[in-house]
Structure formats: structure tokens, C-alpha cells
């Protein structure tokens, strides 16, 4: 995942680095040099930026209080200022890179603004690595968008049984397959699962989830095609209570957020079964619309977490960033293929670190 974005980020980072290096050289030679120290020493440093990995490590760890304040606090003896115009070219590269990776327009704007604010006008101590400054700015920006992440197993353990998880989303994003995968994932972690075949609209949907249930050895509660999904899911919850089952996974029919009636139906399901967790499922290949529909779903029926499917199709994964930015909810899983095992918990920190780690 994120391979292309990684390459892009790397090249942008390099460009930013060069720009800032040049700027630094200039500043050494001219006005920004602080009078208290001689210029030969910093010049020498700036010409050989490579041997500074240790400060970078420590900086990364201290990332928490936010880049801007941290830099300010570090600045004591020597500093120089990064001006907006010095990095504008690189930022426009970054913009194209994000857009090409399917990061939606609004999310791209947010990331750029953040990086720009962090970098421009920030004062940097000459001794620190340029690389660290940029890495931190980008990493902060991305993390601020992706959020903290959540551990599904911890969440389940903290809830009363049966834990009810409802899957929603537009048509064709892979809800039913995701339900099967999550069921498989949870049973592998020693939990018992029952599935409610809540997609009563699409022809063949009940058969589809039924076959999954059979293959995974799980109980699937189903009614006829065209019946009320709330009733199906209610029955599933009752079944789980009676049989002491840990988790109920509720599948639903795909629906577009601009269909008032269908959204009302979803609201009814929500009222009837009172889910502990609403998982919104969307696909990695979606473009700008990902933002619009995530916002609409979030507004009308709410969502607590996001699952991104078909990541194997689009390894750029920009949709993850778009959706997270739009609704501010954590991504819990990504789906990476057609098999039951093709599912991965999503950890923003690891992903961002990977994105920004060295060469692509």
C-alpha cells in the first residue's frame, strides 16, 4: 500500500531539502548568521549534512508536542527562517503527487496548508538535520489527518457481549466480503461470531453471505429477499444472546447517501439493534467522491470506524487519507484481496513511518 505515494513523498522531500539547504547556505553567508558564533563552523556543517542521524532519532521521539513549538523551543543560538517562496515549487509537486494518489482535493489542501504552516517562518537551528525538519513536517501533517487508529480486539473486550458491529457503505464497495473477512479475523482471535444477512435487496446477496458462513463454519441468520433488514439483524442479536456468542456482524445493502428513504432504513436498523460500532466500508480506488459520501454517511447515520477495501487494486491508497480527513474516524482494517486472510488491521503510525522511511 501507498507505494506510489511513498515515491512521490520521497522526491518532494528531497527537493524541499535541497531548497532549504541552499537557503541555509545563503543565510550563512549573509544576514541570518548570529553574531555570537563564527560562520566557518555552520558552513562546514551545512556542506556535509549527512553525518547527523543521531539528532534525527531523538527528534522523532520528541515529535509529540507538534513540530512548530518544538522547533521554536530548540532555537537558541543560531537560526534561520524558511520563507514561503522557497518551498512553493516543492509544495506544488507534493500537491500533484497527492492528487495523483487519489487523495481528495479537500484533504490535499489540508495537508499542504499544514506543511506550509509548519515549514514557513519556522526557525531552525543550523545544527539539526534538514531531513528531520521535513520528515517531521510531513509526518505531522499526515498523522493529523490519519488520526490515532484503534485496536478492534481491545474495543471488543471493553464492551458487553454480544458486541454488535454494523457494516454500511455505498454499492459495490465490498461490504459482504468484508463481513466474511472480519468474521474470519475475529474467530482466529478466539471469538465467536454470528452474521446477520441484512442485505435483503440485492439479488443473490443472501446466498453470497450464506456461502461465506458455511465455508467459515458460522451461523448466518437470514430472512427472505425483500424482507426488513432491521428484523433480520434484530433476530441475529437475539440468537447471539441466546447462544452466548461474542460478536454480531450485520451486513447491509449498499445504498447511496442521496437516497433519503434508504438512509432512513439504515437509521431504523441503527435504532433497532443499537450497534456498538458502525463500520463504514469504502474502496481504495474511489476518488473525490469518497469524501462526499463518507461525510453524508457520517452525518445521517453516523460511523465509528472505517474499513478500506480493494487496497490490492490501488496500492496508492489515497482514499484512506481522504476519508480519514473527511470524517475524522479511525481506519480499523484494510482489505487486500479476495481470500479470507486478505485483511490487515490499520496502524496509522506504522504506515506514516513507512511512508517517510528512506528511499522508496
Amino acid at each position: 500500500m501507498f507505494k506510489a505515494l511513498k515515491e512521490k513523498l520521497f522526491s518532494v522531500r528531497q527537493r524541499l531539502e535541497t531548497t532549504i539547504e541552499e537557503q541555509k547556505l545563503d543565510s550563512d553567508l549573509t544576514i541570518h548568521s548570529a553574531p555570537s558564533q563564527g560562520s566557518p563552523e555552520p558552513s562546514a556543517l551545512s556542506e556535509s549534512p549527512a553525518p547527523t542521524p543521531p539528532p534525527r532519532e531523538s527528534e522523532r521521539e520528541k515529535k509529540a508536542p507538534g513540530f512548530a513549538q518544538k522547533v521554536v523551543s530548540l532555537v537558541r543560538d543560531r537560526e534561520f527562517i524558511i520563507a514561503a517562496k522557497d518551498i512553493e515549487d516543492s509544495l506544488s509537486d507534493l500537491e500533484i503527487g497527492l492528487l495523483e494518489s487519489d487523495v481528495a482535493f479537500s484533504a490535499t489542501d489540508a495537508i499542504l496548508t499544514r506543511v506550509r504552516e509548519d515549514l514557513t517562518g519556522s526557525k531552525r537551528k543550523i545544527g539539526t538535520s534538514v531531513d528531520a525538519v521535513i520528515t517531521n513536517a510531513l509526518s505531522d501533517a499526515l498523522l493529523s489527518v490519519l488520526g490515532e487508529g484503534v485496536n478492534i480486539l481491545d474495543f471488543i473486550a471493553s464492551r458487553e457481549k454480544p458486541v454488535k458491529i454494523l457494516f454500511t457503505g455505498v454499492n459495490g464497495t465490498g461490504k459482504t466480503t468484508s463481513v466474511a473477512k472480519v468474521a474470519h479475523y475475529l474467530t482466529n482471535h478466539g471469538l465467536t461470531v454470528a452474521i446477520g444477512a441484512g442485505d435483503t435487496f440485492r439479488a443473490g446477496a443472501i446466498e453470497q453471505i450464506d456461502v461465506h458462513g458455511e465455508r467459515l463454519g458460522l451461523k448466518v441468520i437470514q430472512h427472505q429477499e425483500g424482507s426488513d433488514p432491521s428484523a433480520v439483524l434484530f433476530d441475529t442479536v437475539q440468537y447471539a444472546k441466546a447462544h452466548n456468542i461474542d460478536i454480531v456482524l450485520g451486513d447491509t445493502a449498499g445504498r447511496f447517501h442521496n437516497r433519503v428513504n434508504l438512509m432512513n432504513q439504515l437509521a431504523k436498523i441503527r435504532r433497532v439493534i443499537q450497534p456498538d460500532l458502525i463500520v463504514y466500508v469504502d474502496e481504495a480506488v474511489a476518488g473525490n467522491d469518497a469524501v462526499i459520501r463518507a461525510e453524508e454517511f457520517s452525518k445521517s447515520v453516523g460511523m465509528d470506524a472505517v474499513m478500506l477495501t480493494k487496497v490490492d487494486m490501488d496500492p496508492k491508497g489515497g482514499a484512506a487519507i481522504s476519508i480519514a480527513h473527511a470524517v475524522g474516524k479511525p481506519l480499523i482494517f484494510i482489505g487486500t484481496g479476495q481470500g479470507y486472510d486478505d485483511i490487515m488491521p490499520f496502524e496509522p503510525k506504522a504506515i506514516v513511518a513507512d511512508l517517510l522511511a528512506g528511499e522508496a
Binding site: 439479488a203 450464506d210 474502496e283 476518488g287 489515497g318
Partner: protein
């Protein structure tokens, strides 16, 4: 269905219309707005850059022909380049043919297969469908159910795991004029599945290989289309789920990548929701120039002669009876919003409340109107307090509901009246190109 892309493009052009001088600055601003609109619609980034460069270059370098102002000329260039972007018109022949459906998982291949089967069936051809999706559980049940609904032959075997075998048997078994092969969803990085579709293409000697793409598809569309095209030479694209808020820009990029055109557009969950695609109309609608041709077709297809008189409506003679018929027709014709998008509104704003009436409400209105007399329906002006009370009692509705209906009627009437007077600004400009003369 075109949502914001249309609005954004229209805004960009409106801005241009308001400019006194069309100079480099004005053109650059226009191009920037266009870029934004297209990028937000998921059109491929590289393509957007290319397109905007062309528009800029042509606008600044080309000398407008005699009698055409610089502004009109720029508009014309934008129009032409956008039409160019959506590709040529694909003619659907009505004859013996085999169609191979290809696409990513969850793009709507099976639903679209059924819709196309219905399309050909309606045109009087015998149609057979082969279900070559051997992977997804329930796929056969799905297509079988849909085929039964439109009374089309369907061949498949949920127990068989070899798609090639099913297709070979199906080709022997089905003797229909139009054979549609629905395949399993796959993406370009799955080599085995790509090989499978290459084999299926050879086996069936398919006349057409149509790529089904989700309107929400983003930047990845172009790459996926390229790989599919390399494998089986895609000769048409079908954009699905255009009833959501997605703009289909990714699919447009796929079209230009494959050098094909858009054949159909899927815009709804029921089996009738399939539109034949005409690039000219599409762009016209996009730019708010209206698509009278499509509206006429739609009206003809879904409404019996005495049902609705569009001309009378536009001339401001809009009675409650018209509204009643309209509400009835709405079910057949699709939502009012969609219908309105076909009218040449130019930059005109239609009040959102006029189109945002849910189907439940429509049904209530219909029931209330059932309790009205002919006089009241033909001349709503006679409605007074006592009449309103009688209607409310008759329909089992509250007084507020009846009043709300009347309010809604008045707003609709005003809207339609305005439509007629809405030919201003850009609309007049476009007329000069002879588009609607």
C-alpha cells in the same frame, strides 16, 4: 446526476461571461477554475494538465472567426475540448453479437449485464446471458434472478469452477441473437484472472468487449483501463452508479486511455436504469446548456401522450392536475432533479426545495389531490378555507399538509414559469453556435 462538476464548470463559464475583456488573465483564471472542477471530478491529473494547456493555447492563439466575439470563441473551445475528452459516440448495433463484460470487483457488472439484456430485449432481440463468474458466492443466483425478471435466457452452473468450461457449454447451449457474458470481477494486477479473460475473449470471438467502471473510480481508472485494454482491446466503457454523487471523471480518463467511447450509463438500482450515452448531450448538460434531445426521448419513452404537456408547463399554464400527472410520471421518469438537468437552465438557479421532495411526500400529495374536485385541479385559485378543510378530511390529512401541498404547487408553478424566462446569459451565447437552432 452530474452534481458539482456541472456547477463548477458553469460557475467558471459564468465568470467568463461577466468579464469585459477576454485577455490572458481572464483565460488563465478560466483554465484554473476548469482544472479545479475536473480534478474534483476525478479526471486523471495528467489529462487535466494537458487539456488545460490546450484550452489555454488555443484561446490565446486562435483568431476568432468573423462575427464571433472572443468570449464566444473561448466558450466554443472549452466545449470542443470537453467533448473530445469524453470520446466518440458509440453506436449500439441491433443484430447478432456477443458481448464480453469486464471490470473491477464491485463495479456493477452483473447488474449492468441484466440492464443491457433488458435493453436488447426491449429492442426486439432474443438475448441470452452466460454467467462466467465462478468465484463470488451468489453470483449465479443474482444474475439468474435478474434475467428471470426480464425474461431472458440465462446459462450458468454454480458448482462449476472453471469459467472457460461454462462459457464453452453456454455458447453451445444458447442460440440467441445477443449473447452477453458476465465475468468475475478482476483487477489489472491479478495475472491469472487477466489471462482468463483473454481466453474467454478468444473463445467467444466477442464482438464487443465492454469495460464496466464505477463512477467513483479515481486516478487508478486510467491504469486499470490501460491493462484491460492491453489484454482484450476494450471497445466501449459503461459508467455505473451515476445516481450517486460521483462525477465519473475517472471513467472519462479510461475512455481516452482505451480510445473508445462511453456506451451506456447506469443510474439506478432497478433494471430499467440504463441510459444510452451521447457525448454532445452529456457536455451540454454538464455546462448547463440543457439536453432537450434526451428529455424528449425520455418523455416519449416513459409517458403516454396525454400524460404531460411539457410545452404547456413551460408556458406557465401549470395546474394542480399537471402536477398530479407529473407526480405520477415521476416514478416512471426518474426524479425531477434528473429531468431538470436536461432543461437548458443556463446559469439559472432552481430552488433546492422544489426538487428535494421525497417519494413518501410525493405519495402523500397524490392522495390529497385524489380528494380534490376537477374544478379544483384545473383552477387551484378556487381553493379556500372550507375547500381545504373538506380535502383534508377526505384524504385523512391535516390542514397543514394540504396547505403545504398548495405551497409546493405554487413554487413549482413559479419554477416552471422562470424556466421559460431563463434563457439569458450563456444560453444566448450558446445559441449562437447553432446548437439548438
Amino acid at each position: 446526476m452530474l452534481g458539482n462538476l456541472g456547477t463548477n464548470l458553469k460557475d467558471a463559464l459564468k465568470k467568463l461571461a461577466g468579464k469585459t475583456v477576454i485577455d490572458r488573465v481572464a483565460v488563465e483564471e478560466l483554465v484554473k477554475d476548469l482544472q479545479r472542477a475536473l480534478l474534483q471530478a476525478d479526471v486523471n491529473v495528467k489529462q487535466v494538465m494537458q487539456l488545460s494547456q490546450t484550452i489555454k493555447k488555443r484561446s490565446l492563439e486562435e483568431e476568432p472567426p468573423k462575427g464571433v466575439t472572443a468570449r464566444e470563441h473561448v466558450l466554443k473551445i472549452v466545449y470542443e475540448e470537453l467533448v473530445h475528452l469524453v470520446g466518440g459516440k458509440v453506436d449500439v448495433q441491433l443484430g447478432r453479437q456477443t458481448i464480453l463484460m469486464a471490470g473491477l470487483q464491485g463495479s456493477g457488472k452483473t447488474t449492468t449485464t441484466a440492464k443491457i439484456a433488458r435493453y436488447f430485449k426491449k429492442k426486439g432481440l432474443r438475448v441470452g446471458v452466460i454467467c462466467a463468474d465462478t468465484f463470488r458466492p451468489g453470483a449465479y443466483t443474482q444474475i439468474k434472478t435478474l434475467c428471470d425478471r426480464v425474461q431472458v435466457n440465462c446459462f450458468g452452473n454454480p458448482k462449476e469452477t472453471d469459467a472457460r468450461k461454462i462459457v464453452a457449454e453456454g455458447l453451445q447451449h444458447l442460440k440467441d441473437e445477443v449473447i452477453i457474458v458476465d465475468t468475475q470481477g478482476r483487477h489489472a494486477l491479478e495475472d491469472e484472472l487477466i489471462q482468463e479473460i483473454i481466453d474467454l475473449n478468444e473463445m467467444t470471438h466477442a464482438t464487443h468487449r465492454w469495460l464496466v467502471l464505477d463512477a467513483a473510480l479515481g486516478q487508478q481508472a486510467r491504469e486499470q483501463a490501460r491493462r484491460f485494454h492491453e489484454a482484450v482491446q476494450i471497445d466501449g466503457v459503461i459508467i455505473t452508479k451515476m445516481d450517486g454523487t460521483a462525477k465519473g471523471g475517472g471513467a472519462l480518463s479510461a475512455v481516452s486511455e482505451t480510445g473508445s467511447g462511453i456506451v451506456f450509463i447506469g443510474a439506478g438500482e432497478t433494471i430499467e436504469d440504463l441510459e444510452w450515452f451521447d457525448p454532445d448531450s452529456f457536455i451540454s448538460r454538464l455546462l448547463g446548456m440543457g439536453d432537450l434531445k434526451a428529455l424528449a426521448e425520455k418523455v416519449q419513452e416513459s409517458i403516454k401522450e396525454d400524460d404531460i404537456d411539457v410545452n404547456a408547463m413551460l408556458s406557465g399554464k401549470f395546474t394542480l392536475r399537471d402536477m398530479y400527472k407529473q407526480l405520477e410520471a415521476v416514478n416512471k421518469m426518474g426524479p425531477l432533479k434528473q429531468v431538470l438537468s436536461m432543461l437548458p437552465l443556463g446559469g439559472m438557479e432552481v430552488p433546492a426545495e422544489a426538487v428535494d421532495v421525497t417519494s413518501v411526500k410525493m405519495e402523500r400529495y397524490r392522495i390529497i389531490m385524489d380528494s380534490m374536485t376537477s374544478t379544483e385541479l384545473d383552477d387551484p385559485a378556487v381553493l379556500n378555507g372550507s375547500r381545504v378543510q373538506r380535502i383534508a378530511m377526505g384524504a385523512g390529512a391535516t390542514l397543514e399538509e394540504v396547505r403545504e401541498l398548495i405551497k409546493y404547487y405554487k413554487m413549482m408553478k413559479r419554477t416552471f414559469k422562470n424556466l421559460k424566462g431563463g434563457e439569458k446569459g450563456m444560453q444566448r451565447l450558446m445559441k449562437k453556435f447553432g446548437r439548438f437552432s
